[in-house]
Structure formats: structure tokens, C-alpha cells
Amino acid sequence: MKRVYVNEKWCLGCHLCEYNCAFANSGETDMAKALRGKVIHPRLHIEGQGEIHYAVSCRHCTDPLCVKSCISGALSIQDGTVKIDHDKCVGCLTCVLVCPYGAVAPGPDGAATKCELCLENACGAPACAAGCPNNAIVYEEREEASA
């Protein structure tokens, strides 16, 4: 399946992906309206230091610890995508406790929040990859062997 992959060699640390993510999941059609004056809660984040930068988002693991650890069944795998049902989530954050990549985060409403590949928002495909100015984030198929 297609996933979001990151090549830190090309990541500029511009943080555009975070804003594109927040906008894509805002439900708004105007970015300024969606994000201006607000604290954003992107589903991926840029880490780094000095000249090293990279984006971290859900890896959509083949055998995800978060799904197995979810106490409410809010997290599930659907066609390979690890999804979260915000209605079911009670905000225990066990998923945050177990994700080895730090890719699941406490969301603004207390529930956990994570990348769902923009498959169900207006973008239809990850906004982070589409908006990455330097191809540091890509959305593509990769072989398991390359891991």
C-alpha cells in the first residue's frame, strides 16, 4: 500500500507540512480562515536539530502496537491504514505511550490524533507530501524489504 515516507536528506525544516496537515484536516476551504490565530495540531511533526530535519508521522505499521493497545477499539487497521475513530476514543493515550516513533499525539480535544493519510478529508491523499517543496515527504508504494 502507499504510505508516507520521509527522506531527511531533502527535508528543509520549513514546517510547511505541519500547516498543510492542519489545514487539510480542518474541514475549511481557506487556509487563512482555518489556521490564522490558532494553535495548530498537525498529525505529523518536524523534528531535528541544526541542519538535520525530518517529518515524523504515523508509519502505518504492518503490526501496529497502538492498535493492539487501544482500550476502546478506536484504533483499527482498515485496508492497511491505521485509523482512529474519534467518537470511540476516550483519550487514555495508551497509543501515545506505546508508539515507538512518537507519531501519535494528544489532540486538542483530549482524544489521540494521528495521521490517517488524508484519505477521508478533502485532500484525498496526504497533504504533507503534496505540499512538500522538496520531495522530502513522498506518498508511494515501497517494498517491505527496503525497511
Binding site: R3, Y5, V6, N7, E8, E47, G48, Q49, I52, Y54, A55, V56, R59, C61, T62, L65, K68, S69, C70, I71, S72, G73, D87, K88, V90, G91, C92, L93, T94, C95, V96, L97, V98, C99, P100, Y101, G102, V104, A105, P106, G110, R142, E143, E144, S146, A147
Partner: protein, 417 residues
């Protein structure tokens, strides 16, 4: 066609079904649940009590789960007797179920010590807090005026208090231990929680417990008398191991299994809160009664029952819980200078972090407030990653993938994991 029987409809049982179905689509599966309900995450009952979720949302895998997976679910019956020779299971209603592979995922039940006069407390005012039905009962019984005494300041007791807080502010929690959450916190961190609970108006009676009950009065060890309208007994749990023990299987504190989750009885597996498994940090066997382990053990058992190959290579104790606005996460074992470990600590207003290391490994942590990327610490513990292989100085201050090096990131962020 293989016949599978699963005892217990909790998380281990559900994952056992999924494990079986990942390898065998056609075998028959029968699930026995002593409870009237199954297929829900047990820790949700406090959220249910609080009103943060409802029965529909609590359904762990959706209401059509059994149907989708071809499972015959029998509720309200218990497994009475396991006959390993005949490979049958006798139920409380007299039914005898033959099995080719069986999984005991019977969980645990409340541990209630023999309090003097407990029988004088009216039945409708006396609760344990283990099941959805317990939560329903409490919800019906509680009014805004109810004075509630909770015996036990552990996870169950305090989560119950949180749930009740939505209904009544008259809450008293007592515990024999000098601090709350004594199984997962240390005095210093427990005090932060205690301050928080007290600020909410919850009365804590620590180092104290009921000596005797007289109707709706509890006479405490301290000499004080606490009057209550509702009593919740949340002292502890006891694994349900009887079925295996009676059938001649090995049981220590919990049911003994190997890494495939097989018990010492042929064709019988066990998973969840009733089993012992390996603690990755200490290497010892013990009960790791947390939901993620139940899920993994259940799935492992299921796959192996269906002829596949899977192992559960151990777990670590860990917890993430919100408690009336303060959120805390704990994991692993706490080694300090006194027991051969080292401690890194940061504390500031609203945030607390304590990391425990021993012999070059991270062994445990206590976090409150800022919980971002806590899983990076958990993975360090679970994977037993030598700390000298990463830049631990950086990661201990700020958990990120930076200290793991570019190659690790290339593999994890640039590959399928």
C-alpha cells in the same frame, strides 16, 4: 473442521478470535462469557460511569463482530470443568463442549478480603468495579447527594472515583498504603496526584482502611467512622486460574504458559490477565495485567491454536491514564541508586518526568503533564536498546528520533515497519 473454544469475552478473547481467523476461516469458534456483556474494553467502564462513552461506542470490535467471524457466543454461563483427556469443557448450564483447541482468557475477578461486618452492608449499596454491569449498577445507584466510600486508592479505585465524580462530589478514598497508586507511582509523584485529587474535593484517607463495617458505616483503622451511601471495594484483583488448576495444569500466581501461550495441558492455551508471562525488563515471570498484553497474548494464542506460528516474547508493565485532568504515564521498573539504578528527573509546574536506568538500559519512567512522544521511551524499555547506542543525553531531555541516528530514521521513516 477444527473446533475452537474460548473462555472469556474480554480483550484477550476477542484477539484470540482474530488470531484464529487470521489462520483459519472455517473452524467453529465458541466463546463463553460469564458476563452478560463481552467485546468491550474493560478499562472503559470508568469512562462509561463518567459519561464519556456509551455502550454503543464501547463495543470494541462492533456489534456484528461475532457474526462476521462466525463465532457462537454464549453469555452468562461459566466454564466449570475442563477434561483434558476427553478434550471437553463442561459449562455451568450443563452443556459439554468438545474442543480441538481451547483458550482460557478468563481474566481476573475482584479480590475482596474478609472485612468484618461486610455482610451488614446492604447488597444494593455494595459494589466492586470490574465489569460493565458493575458500572451500570453504580450509575443507577448514585445520586448527587451520595456519599461514596471507595476502599482502594489504586488504578481501579481512582478511576472509579473519577467516574463517580461526574455524579457526586462526596467521595472518600482510603488505602492502606501511604500513597495513592502505590503500584505504579512513587511517593513524590503520588503526592502530585493526591494534591490534584484533594483540590477537586476528594477526601483521601491514606495509610488507613476499614476495620469493620456496620451497615452504612465504616469503622476505620484510624478510629474514624465514615458514613457512606455507597461502598466500592477496589482493593485488588485475583486471576481466574481455577479451571486450569483443577484440570491439572501448572499455575503459579497466574496460569503458566510458554511463549506460544500454550499451558502445560495439551491443546489448551491461555491469555490475558489470568496468565503469567515474561517481564522483558527483569526476565522473570509474572502477571502483566494490562490490556495491550492481553491483546497480544490473545492473538498469539489464537494463531497458534489455528496451526500458525506466533510468539509473545514478553511484555512490560505500563499505564497511561487521565485522572480528573491530570494525565500520567508510567512504564517498567523503577531502579534508583538504592537498587543499582540511576535516575534522571525534571519537574516543573504541571510537568514531571522521572526516568530510571540500570546497567545501560532504560528500565522505567513516570511522566505527568507533557506526554508527547512518550512511546519513544517505552520502546527503549521494551526493545532493551542499549543506551550507549544512542544519544541518551538528548533523548532523556526531549524524546525524538534524533538521537537514534540517520540510519535508524532511514529505516523507520523511509521504509515499511
Amino acid at each position: 473442521m477444527k473446533r475452537y473454544v474460548i473462555v472469556g469475552g474480554g480483550i484477550a478473547g476477542i484477539h484470540c478470535i482474530e488470531g484464529i481467523r487470521s489462520a483459519d476461516r472455517s473452524g467453529s469458534i465458541t466463546l463463553i462469557s460469564a458476563e452478560a456483556d463481552s467485546n468491550y474494553g474493560r478499562p472503559l467502564i470508568s469512562y462509561y460511569l463518567e459519561g464519556a462513552t456509551d455502550e454503543e461506542k464501547m463495543s470494541y470490535r462492533g456489534s456484528d463482530f461475532y457474526e462476521r467471524n462466525g463465532v457462537t457466543a454464549l453469555h452468562g454461563v461459566t466454564a466449570e470443568k475442563l477434561d483434558p483427556t476427553a478434550k471437553t469443557l463442561t459449562l455451568s448450564d450443563g452443556q459439554v463442549l468438545p474442543y480441538d483447541a481451547l483458550c482460557v482468557a478468563a481474566g481476573s475477578g475482584p479480590f475482596v478480603p474478609p472485612f468484618a461486618g461486610l455482610d451488614t452492608v446492604p447488597q444494593e449499596k455494595k459494589f466492586t468495579f470490574m465489569t460493565l454491569s458493575d458500572a451500570r449498577g453504580l450509575m443507577q445507584a448514585v445520586t448527587p447527594e451520595s456519599r461514596v466510600l471507595i476502599i482502594g486508592g489504586g488504578l481501579i479505585g481512582l478511576k472509579c472515583a473519577e467516574g463517580l465524580y461526574a455524579h457526586t462530589k462526596h467521595l472518600t478514598v482510603c488505602d492502606l498504603a501511604p500513597h495513592v497508586l502505590s503500584s505504579i507511582l512513587q511517593p513524590e509523584s503520588a503526592e502530585i496526584v493526591e494534591q490534584h485529587l484533594k483540590a477537586k474535593g476528594i477526601r483521601l484517607m491514606l495509610g488507613d482502611s476499614a476495620k469493620e463495617f456496620q451497615g452504612t458505616k465504616a469503622l476505620m483503622n484510624s478510629g474514624e467512622t465514615v458514613e457512606f451511601d455507597l461502598l466500592v471495594l477496589a482493593i485488588g484483583v485475583r486471576p481466574n486460574t481455577g479451571l486450569i488448576k483443577d484440570a491439572g495444569g501448572d499455575v503459579n500466581r497466574g496460569i503458566v504458559t510458554d511463549a506460544s501461550m500454550a499451558t502445560t495441558i495439551p491443546c489448551v492455551y491461555a491469555a490475558g490477565d489470568c496468565v503469567e508471562s515474561k517481564n522483558i525488563i527483569t526476565g522473570g515471570q509474572g502477571i502483566l495485567a494490562i490490556l495491550p498484553n492481553a491483546a497480544m497474548q490473545g492473538r498469539t494464542a489464537g494463531i497458534n491454536m489455528a496451526g500458525g506460528e506466533a510468539v509473545f516474547d514478553g511484555g512490560i508493565p505500563m499505564n497511561s491514564m487521565g485522572l480528573m485532568g491530570v494525565h500520567l504515564m508510567t512504564a517498567g521498573s523503577y531502579y534508583e541508586e538504592s537498587n543499582g539504578g540511576q535516575v534522571y528527573m525534571e519537574a516543573s509546574e504541571g510537568s514531571y518526568k522521572k526516568l530510571f536506568t540500570k546497567d545501560g538500559y532504560l528500565t522505567g519512567f513516570i511522566l505527568m503533564g507533557d506526554l508527547h512522544r512518550a512511546g519513544i521511551y517505552t520502546a527503549l524499555i521494551r526493545e532493551r536498546r542499549p543506551l550507549d547506542s544512542i544519544d541518551f543525553e538528548t533523548v532523556k531531555k526531549d524524546p525524538s528520533l534524533l538521537p537514534f541516528g540517520a540510519e535508524y530514521r532511514r529505516q523507520t521513516l523511509g521504509g515499511v515497519v
